[in-house]
């Protein structure tokens, strides 16, 4: 029996092993950070956290001020009662799944992940034997199924090229860590000049050091942005980003773009369902392949849908509500 609990803000604690995932606390001695998105990374930590080098670099650029123990993928760290290995999660650069082996069984904490992986990440690999799978399930409904990657690349490139042909400036709304660089990577072969919002720009260096091709880009400049491919976030576009460019068209790049309602909510011209999470079908498929003793489902209002499908596969599961659950 391994105790898996919610702890901190969106974090998880294996109390018997003093191991924590994605939060910072004195309750756990060994903290593992899956990736550098704001809802997963801490901003300070008394003890050095474990993470990949790329995650550490990205965290530092986003304000993390303390120490880290860097781990490579596949490298095993020996703790008093467990050994821990990181696997590439395919979500964003540096993103890792944390694999914990103990005498009482093994745990795989996925963090956020995507399979097939983002080409702007280190890929996706998973251990063969897992007893407890703690998985995110952000898009856990069968209405979410991502298009083949080639089609998405085509959509992104065509939107940029056609919009420019029509005399408009194309603007991609994409989260500034991960999605923005993935879109840039998709556009790189077009060699179109590109400007990215400052918050995303400073992270691009880490991607380039990791050998990810980001194309012909520079930081956003209000005076020179017209006629270039622009990349920014939803919130920036509402706060004056390129507001001087009257003729522009917006494309929203997100898994949520699979919902027709986001067109009107964000007043965009194009919806490109490009997600950095795996879709419903990949999730069920992975559970089937791993066939764990138990699946612990997080990050979804629809855990019951996943559970319904896991029941049919005779896989035990539960909802680990990171939103509402208090200490238990």
């Amino acid at each position: 029996m391994i105790n898996i609990k919610k702890a901190g803000y969106h974090g998880i604690l294996l109390s018997d092993y003093s191991i924590g995932f994605d939060f910072s606390t004195p309750d756990a001695q060994h903290i593992f950070i899956s990736h550098a998105h704001a809802d997963h990374m801490p901003y300070k930590s008394k003890e050095p956290v474990y993470c990949t080098e790329n995650t550490f670099k990205l965290m530092q650029k986003r304000g993390y001020r303390d120490e880290a123990n860097l781990l490579s993928f596949g490298e095993t760290v020996q703790l008093p009662k467990a050994q821990v290995t990181l696997f590439p999660a395919g979500h964003i650069l540096g993103s890792a799944m944390v694999y914990v082996e103990t005498n009482e069984g093994s745990v795989l904490y996925t963090g956020d992940y995507r399979t097939p992986p983002s080409p702007a990440s280190e890929g996706f690999e998973y251990p063969k034997q897992v007893d407890h799978l703690i998985t995110e399930a952000t898009f856990s409904l069968p209405v979410y199924k991502w298009a083949p990657y080639d089609e998405l690349i085509e959509e992104v490139q065509q939107f940029a090229i056609q919009t420019l042909d029509e005399g408009y400036t194309p603007v991609f709304l994409a989260y500034n860590l991960g999605k923005a660089q993935e879109v840039m990577n998709m556009l790189a072969p077009t060699e179109l000049p590109l400007q990215i919002h400052g918050a995303g720009f400073k992270l691009c260096e880490v991607y380039e050091e990791a050998g990810i091709e980001l194309g012909n880009y520079e930081t956003y400049n209000r005076l020179t942005c017209e006629g270039k491919v622009l990349i920014t976030t939803n919130s920036a576009i509402n706060n004056g980003f390129a507001s001087n460019v009257k003729k522009k068209k917006l494309a929203y790049c997100s898994g949520w773009a699979a919902r027709e309602s986001s067109r009107a909510q964000l007043t965009v011209h194009k919806l490109i369902p490009l997600s950095d999470h795996l879709d419903f079908f990949e999730l069920i498929n992975l559970c089937k392949k791993l066939n764990p003793k138990k699946v612990h489902i997080t990050h979804t209002p629809n855990a019951s849908v996943v559970q319904h499908y896991l029941d049919e596969l005779n896989i035990d599961s539960r909802f680990l509500d990171l939103e509402a659950e208090t200490d238990d």
Partner: protein, 570 residues
């Protein structure tokens, strides 16, 4: 193949994906032009503009969302309760959920082999659905149809069938523009033909064949009403261009008269003649010329216009008893004339129409509204107070030089109304929104307090459902709060801890025995979210009862001096 349903679905999708309205109209116009046969043009315009059947045909493919949703779940071999419902809630649309499931799920893909159905074949399917009544029969037809369609076709097939909006940001007004553009005619002429024929498909065919002038107004075919905008929503440059009438606390009605044949139509163009025999007799006996009048049915007794709540006792009755007729006598008060001297006169100005109406009223002794000149805001204020004293809802301001803009809500007619009242209520349930509000909880059931009321066990009971009156920001803030207050989940509905207080504004209170409170509010909407109040501050059922009684018993100014209408009794 331009006459396939797939082509229509793809055109609709392209219109959805286009932002500029001009560009949307141009896409639709190109599509209409590409259709070779008149029959297909008729079908395409009707499907995009009106639904499966033309609104005047009286035919309907009656099919509920549960019927087609359970059918779709079965088709996709997924659990309706456990999988379909959450999918629908997440997207805020059953038809969109069905489109995605049909695309994503292997079991559904295997059953479908798109057959490029023609518009005519799809029309036949809609007819078949309208001719069967059992759920099983309807579902059998749906299954057979879906097997031959792409997911996109299925989505629009459902939206057209249910006569809801196609949700492509393209309402029937835009379809009219597209028809005009496709065949080089004036939008105004196409709109006129549409209003007269009541069929957008037929209008398109007439337009294409240069025969718009054949769309002639016919008596006993009701035409769409001209509607008023709230005065708050419009900027008025010169109030002197308007006249004022009192806004009667009654029911809008259009009357067609030819000899002793008289028919009455409600605002949704239903025939309501049978409910009001005394009005029919009154007009049938007067040897009137052929006429169409626009006006209001009111309960009128002892020189007083009585509240709308009493008129409700007369509405929907096929044959009212003489007792009911004695108790709630009704009167038709005319305020506009639309057909006179054997021709429609919508294009004449209000001043000219009024002259005709006045002449008719004098000659045949008909009740007509009183009109008042206004010069400034003070005179409006004074008239408004008097209208309320008469028991009426407020004022109508009508632009003197305006034509009768059938079916439109613009600034030629303005309504000045006083809100019926406000109540502090508590939010009890939140319902998932659809369309633009998909993904949010946007509709709310509001309750009033009955904690100290011996008639009830509960602490709060529902009094109304509201889905407007707040900004997007407020909606988001409420959604955050709702998350914390949720205690139960029933599909798309959340049961909440009664905490959040909403000041609700409404137009009127009506008795409704089918509700727990026995009362319903007319047009309830948010006035403000009272973050400062708690559930103990909310109003009680007794407050509602008191407001209703005050409304009914309110002293009404008799129609003697400065009446709201006039009518020389014999």
């Amino acid at each position: 193949m331009s006459n396939t349903f797939k082509n229509l679905a793809e055109t609709a999708q392209k219109i959805l994906e286009t932002r500029s309205n001009n560009a949307k109209v141009a896409i639709c116009a190109r599509y209409f032009k590409s259709l070779d046969s008149d029959k297909d043009l008729n079908r395409a315009a009707q499907f995009l503009g009106e639904g499966a059947f033309s609104s005047i045909s009286g035919e309907r493919a009656v099919i509920g969302s549960r019927t087609y949703s359970t059918c779709a779940a079965e088709f996709c071999e997924i659990n309706y309760e456990k999988v379909f419902k959450p999918s629908k809630t997440a997207l805020g649309s059953s038809s969109e959920a069905i489109e995605k499931l049909m695309h994503n799920i292997d079991a559904a893909r295997k059953k479908r082999s798109p057959a490029e159905l023609t518009l005519a074949e799809v029309e036949t399917i809609y007819k078949a659905i309208s001719e069967v009544s059992s759920r099983a029969d309807k579902q059998q037809i749906l299954r057979d149809a879906w097997k031959q369609m792409t997911p996109l076709e299925i989505k629009y097939f459902i939206r057209i069938m249910t006569r809801g909006s196609l949700r492509i940001g393209f309402e029937s007004r835009s379809v009219v523009s597209a028809i005009a553009q496709a065949f080089g005619k004036k939008v105004k002429d196409v709109r006129y033909a549409h209003m007269i024929t009541g069929s957008i498909g037929r209008t398109a065919v007439l337009c294409k064949n240069d025969r718009l002038d054949e769309a002639i107004f016919k008596l006993f075919h009701p035409l769409s009403f001209m509607l008023a905008s709230p005065i708050e929503s419009r900027a008025i440059e010169n109030i002197g261009e308007y006249i004022a009438e009192e806004k009667f606390d009654g029911m809008r009605c259009q009357m067609h008269i030819s000899g002793n044949k008289v028919e009455l139509y409600s605002r949704d163009l239903n025939d309501i003649t049978h409910s009001f025999p005394e009005i029919v007799n009154f007009f049938a006996e007067r040897n009137l010329p052929d006429l169409v009048l626009d006006g209001e049915v009111c309960v009128y007794k002892n020189d007083e216009i009585l509240p709308f709540q009493l008129l409700q006792k007369r509405m929907g009755r096929k044959k009212p008893s003489s007792k009911i007729m004695d108790k709630f006598p009704v009167l038709f008060i005319a305020y506009d004339v639309l057909f006179y001297d054997d021709e429609p006169i919508f294009e004449k100005s209000l001043t000219e129409r009024r002259k005709i109406l006045k002449k008719l009223a004098e000659q045949f002794n008909l009740p007509i509204s009183n009109q008042f000149e206004i010069s400034d805001e003070d005179s409006v204020e004074e008239l408004f107070e008097r209208a309320l004293a008469h028991g009426n809802e407020g004022l109508m301001l009508k632009k003197k030089d305006s034509t009768y803009e059938y079916g439109q809500r613009r600034k030629s007619w303005l309504k000045v109304k006083k809100p019926g009242g406000t109540l502090d209520t508590v939010m009890m349930y939140a319902h998932a929104g659809s369309g633009k509000r998909g993904g949010y909880y946007s509709d709310f059931t509001l309750g009033i307090r009955v904690a100290e009321d011996e008639r009830y066990e509960e602490e709060f009971i529902p009094i109304g459902k509201a889905y407007g009156g707040y900004t997007d920001e407020e909606m988001k803030r409420m959604n955050k709060r709702i998350k914390d207050l949720t205690v139960e989940k029933y599909g798309p509905t959340l049961g909440l801890i009664p905490e959040l207080v909403i000041e609700l504004e409404f137009d009127d209170i009506q008795i409704n025995k089918r509700t727990k409170a026995n009362y319903t509010l007319r047009l309830p909407r948010f006035k403000s979210i009272r973050w400062d109040l708690g559930p103990d501050d909310t109003d009680t059922l007794q407050d509602v009862e008191r407001m209703y009684q005050e409304k009914i018993n309110r002293k009404r100014l008799k129609q003697d001096e400065n009446p709201s209408f006039y009518f020389e009794n014999d």
